[in-house]
């Protein structure tokens, strides 16, 4: 295995990390506000199909991203209404959203199976600087990427800053920890939760768009292939922290890319595919002690509907 193989694994890995990062950033915000949305896969696939169709018909990949974001928000609001206003079971609602998205996207996309996006309608790697791309091993991975790759990192840093350094962040985190405390101080718990759920949908839609207009510019049924679930695992792996999500996303992405490449060397791809989940289990186990949970565990009110005045 020479250096170019490693370089390629990193490049492919970082490329496939972008949708994981985007989707899990959205889920981090939703969960921080107390809403568990297992519908990431469904929102992502709807984003993918709508972005593909938009880009194919208009020839504008950015318009595709915009439409996918909007579709993601609409999808997430279904979950929002069920879990915030109707106080339904968030696990059931999220799972239903995933199934709904997978089914609806294949109906909508039936006519488009097998099309490729023309070059002008898709994102192409835009090297930031030719000189940097030539850096050994990491040059391609870091500097030969599509615009959404850079955008996702900017979003992650901004979301981290908002969550930990601003009042908005305190409001969101408090809503997910103890909504009654937030409510007693005049915070609109429902509004915060809808906003965070919608942001989760927007970023999941954007992640889907990345898949169909940049990563593999075509529409293939079920093309998210479980990435929504990995994004959920990543949310936990990152311990609900946007900066750690960057690290986690590239780790998971490289592991995935490595899986394909290492097959050629006789390693089982299926075992390697399990690695992200294994890593998540390890992090969860390490974080299971009382002190660790207090410092960085799941938001205390995650998955619990809020009703004012109820004990």
């Amino acid at each position: 295995m020479d250096l170019s193989v490693v370089e390629n694994i990193l490049w492919v890995g970082f490329r496939s990390a972008t949708p994981l990062l985007l989707a899990s950033l959205g889920e981090i915000y939703a969960e921080r506000s107390g809403i568990l949305n297992l519908g990431v896969e469904g929102m992502m696939i709807m984003g993918a199909v709508s972005a593909f169709i938009t880009a194919l018909t208009t020839g504008n990949p950015w318009l595709g991203v915009a439409v996918a974001t909007a579709v993601g928000i609409l999808m997430s609001l279904i979950h929002g209404v069920i879990s915030i206003h109707l106080r339904g079971n968030q696990v059931v609602s999220g799972l239903a959203l995933t199934m709904f998205g997978l089914g609806l996207s294949s109906v909508i996309g039936r006519k488009y199976v097998g099309y490729q996006l023309p070059v002008k309608a898709r994102f192409l790697p835009k090297p930031l600087a030719e000189g940097l791309v030539k850096l050994p091993v990491i040059g391609k991975a870091l500097f030969d990427q599509e615009p959404l790759f850079y955008l996702s990192i900017v979003i992650a840093v901004v979301l981290w800053f908002v969550l930990y350094r601003t009042k908005v962040g305190i409001v969101i985190r408090s809503t997910g920890e103890n909504p009654a405390a937030a409510d007693a101080l005049g915070i609109n718990v429902y509004l915060v939760r809808y906003a965070c759920t919608a942001l989760g949908g927007a970023l999941a839609g954007m992640a889907g768009a990345y898949l169909s207009v940049a990563y593999s510019p075509a529409w293939i049924e079920n093309m998210t292939a479980g990435r929504g679930w990995i994004a959920l695992a990543l949310t936990i792996f990152a311990l609900w922290n946007p900066l750690r999500a960057i690290f986690g996303a590239y780790l998971f992405g490289v592991v995935e890319a490595g899986g394909y490449t290492l097959q050629a060397y006789g390693y089982s791809q299926w075992l390697l595919n399990g690695v992200p989940y294994l890593l998540t289990v390890i992090v969860l186990t390490a974080g299971a002690t009382e002190t660790m949970r207090r410092r960085m565990g799941a938001p205390a009110a995650l998955g619990v509907p809020y009703v004012r005045g109820e004990k």
């Binding site: 350094r165 009042k167 305190i170 103890n178 405390a181 101080l185 005049g186 915070i187 207090r294």
Partner: protein, 522 residues
Amino acid sequence: MASEATAVASEPRETDLLVKMVSIVKRFPGVLANDHVNFELRPGEVHALLGENGAGKTTLMNILYGIYHPDGGEIYVRGRRVEIRSPRDAMSLGIGMVHQHFMLVDRHTVAENIALGYAKSLMNPLKEIKEKLREFAEKYGLKVDPDAYIWQLSAGEQQRVEIIKALYHGADILILDEPTSVLTPQETKELFKIVERMRDEGKGIIFITHKLDEVFEVADRVTVMRRGKVVGTLKASETTKEELARMMVGREVLFRLEKERVSRGKPVLEVENLHALNDRGLPAVRGVSFRVHEGEIFGIAGVAGNGQRELAEVVVGLRKATAGRVLIDGVDVTNKSPRFISSKGVAHIPEERLRHGIVPNLSVAENLILKDYYKEPYRRGLLLDHSKVIEDAERLINKFDIVTPSPLTPAKLLSGGNIQRLICARELHKEPRLIVAAHPTYGLDVGATEYIRRILLEQRKRGAAVLLISEDLEEVLQLSDRVGVMFNGEIVGIVRPEEVSIEEIGLMMAGARRLAREEMAS
């Protein structure tokens, strides 16, 4: 019945009143929680709102704070008619509330909890908060570390954060909902000092309580509620404990429980050099030894978090001992299963009755057989003998005066007092040898408290040994034959209540005094 005895010459004008609530009505399904209630608050007064649990005090104040909407009546704040639709409305009217259950985010710091509602700057909001906190520390003696996490704070400190939150936005109407229920005697004194300072500044303070002594310690006026109605408003200086108690309960109440002399038998519970860890894996019980005999109530006094809970849990088998022994009637039960220990005649009245005492969604009848469902006569092969379950439940409901619509009602719908009766019925009807009772009257009203205490004394008379853990010092001293004071996981003194002053126990609870082995009452 007390009249409006306060109509004296200095009656303030309507517009001077901070709050006037007129004919407030609030209905909940099946209950009239507030029945045409009138209430007023003047500037510079501490107004106690006294009543048993379920009398409607907290409901009334939740209406004033915008958590509930009244079904009828009018509210005036500083003479102006207002509609309070949410806590936000209340806050903008200068109303602050310290809830009985603190509304704090455990995993956030003090500063973050305050910034949640009040930070003006969007970026780096904690800086302004910390500056303001220093100001409060000086002005009211409200000292608290802004960078400490809430979960690291004692109940008294957490309460201080709540008061700061209320003052932060300039509240001059402050509602304190049973503020002393979680405090030590010393912390309570400090709270009263803070309350007085706020009163002297001209703020109006509403002090919800069901403890009569506090009315006389801190209040200027007192409004008594019973069953959703106001019984009367009195000046604290012009009334007596007995009168208030009668207004509150609607009948005479005995303050001194008749404690008969019971001759002490052989030891039932023997704890020898016991060690155990708390949930965080730190030592919580550190070398505790004592005995409880037949016909004896052994009280454990101490500030919450000094190992009492862990001690009780080890005795009933819910927590592993790391060293030492627990014997019941001479049989070593250390680290045996709860079922085994229960079969040796140990009853457990746990703390947090809703979480540990019952299964809230199961029916009253099912809750009554939680310890016996797997045995005859309830077991019939793989099934339960349902009619036998109901039959026995009805018998216990009658015997222990549990007020429930039916044996099939989910236990969570019962009032606190009736849930505690249910637990007593389940634990005590088989005449146990040892009763471990943790905070058995916590949060109960006067009537239910009296009932539970009487039951414990009856069990003592019957010859049971009772291990009583309570933060209500008065209760421990009244009921116990001997009291062990716990501090930092150790028993620092064993005393007889009649031979010791409350101050001395307070010193031991605070760790400032420790008895030598030979000074301990045996």
